[in-house]
């Protein structure tokens, strides 16, 4: 073993299963064979790095990408990206996408009968700073119906995609809003077995970072897998 770092496996019941029939699309899109447990190698502990050549000034402000202002409630969404050892993940690429304030996506296959907003695309990206901080300015997305089951509605959410240092830290998740009455009915949210883990997907209202007369604010910290603290420890759980 050379300069090899092992990532701990995610904690028991914090990750959703592949097959979760309550979310219908999983039935034909989940592997039927068990995953093959494989040793972590340099191919998984490394990963792509993205610099300022990709992320440009203004990419993190979804309210300033068009000639006019988008409709909806303006919000600041910020937080830190950390690993399980509480170390900041610096210069991580954070991509975010979402529906507009009416609950409509700017996408050809979204036929929800709610208006598109010519001043809102719903995509932003940011790099974390040296301390792992990121920050977006956007509008609060609307809830919207989907056809998973009778009268199914997705709670308001933002999609987040993150690249850490290594591929094993890759994460795509969704951020929800505190007090949303739709959460108990949402199969995606409820696909995560552990109650505390589910609650960590819910942002918190962030009075400190509101912008007076301009925007409310929500806080959403994101934790990626972390390397084992003891380099000699080669246990697998």
């Amino acid at each position: 073993m050379s300069d090899f770092v092992a990532y701990r496996r995610p904690y028991y019941q914090t990750q959703p299963p592949y097959l979760y029939p309550g979310y219908r699309s999983t039935v034909k899109r989940s592997p039927s064979q068990p995953l093959v447990l494989a040793p972590q190698t340099i191919s998984e502990t490394t990963g792509p790095m993205f610099g300022y050549g990709i992320v440009k000034e203004g990419d993190a402000d979804l309210t300033a990408q068009h000639a006019g202002d988008p409709l909806g409630e303006r919000i600041v969404v910020s937080g830190r990206v950390l690993d399980e050892n509480s170390r900041p993940v610096a210069h991580a690429l954070v991509e975010m996408w979402q529906a507009n304030a009416s609950g409509r996506y700017n996408h050809a296959i979204d036929d929800h009968d709610a208006p598109l907003d010519p001043n809102f695309t719903g995509y932003g990206r940011a790099l974390t700073d040296a301390q792992g901080h990121y920050r977006f300015v956007t509008v609060k997305p609307g809830a919207y119906p989907w056809r998973n089951h009778y009268n199914a509605w997705r709670p308001a959410h933002l999609h987040f995609s993150l690249f850490g240092i290594g591929l094993l830290q890759r994460l795509v998740t969704q951020m929800y809003f505190p007090g949303d009455p739709l959460l108990p009915y949402d199969p995606m949210y409820n696909s995560v077995p552990d109650d505390m883990a589910r609650q960590r997907m819910v942002s918190t209202f962030d009075w400190e970072r509101t912008i007076p007369d301009i925007a409310l604010a929500y806080r959403f910290n994101i934790v990626l897998r972390g390397p084992d603290e003891t380099p000699t420890d080669t246990r697998r759980s």
Partner: protein, 193 residues
């Protein structure tokens, strides 16, 4: 350990909004040294229907077997072609037939934790609506003698290894074919690390 890894959630049906802006189909720009290859295939669900709203991400070493994990970041300033090689691809599957295609250079061999080197491979991550956690797999190359000793490939039951090995296209050139089957007959092997 003091914190818990965040829970994964699906990319959903509108993933193109989030992933299309940084789609990368040409992984090795002209001038990057190495054997130029292309890989194409399709992604299928449990009914063998094409997955038309999926995303395939690729990660590989350069032709010399080096990952550009840190060097790649310098690419923004660097001017040489080698600096522009990040080794990362992201391809959205076709909205009609679920196909994907990328061009790159054949990766060199990288270190194996067991000592020696791994067989040339590309790490592939798959995202789609209906997938609550992304899937990770590997693409290997046909007729490579190093496959027989590869540490990761050797973890895979022999009867399923074929799902990880691309086929050379009939022209005998540098084009490879490789399908990803998420479920069912000839289901691709996915790894848990």
């Amino acid at each position: 350990m003091s914190l818990y890894t965040a829970s994964s959630q699906t990319v959903g049906p509108y993933v193109a909004i989030g992933f299309k802006p940084m789609e990368i189909r040409d992984i090795a720009p002209l001038g990057v040294a190495g054997e130029r290859i292309s890989v194409s295939g399709r992604v299928f669900d449990g009914d063998h229907k094409p997955i038309t709203d999926g995303v395939v991400e690729t990660w590989q070493a350069d032709g010399e077997g080096r990952y550009h994990s840190t060097e790649g970041a310098a690419g923004a300033n660097g001017s040489s072609a080698a600096n522009r090689f990040r080794g990362f691809g992201r391809i959205l599957t076709d909205g009609k037939d679920g196909s994907f295609r990328f061009t790159t250079i054949k990766p060199g061999r990288v270190a194996s934790p067991a000592g020696g080197k791994q067989a040339p491979h590309i790490v592939v991550t798959v995202f789609m609506r209906g997938l609550l956690k992304h899937l990770q797999t590997r693409l290997y190359f046909p007729d490579d003698p190093a496959n027989a000793q590869d540490l990761v490939l050797s973890q895979v039951p022999e009867s399923r290894r074929g799902t990880l090995i691309a086929r050379r296209e009939a022209d005998g050139g540098a084009s490879y074919l490789w399908d990803i089957v998420v479920q069912g007959q000839d289901e691709t092997v996915f790894f848990d690390y």
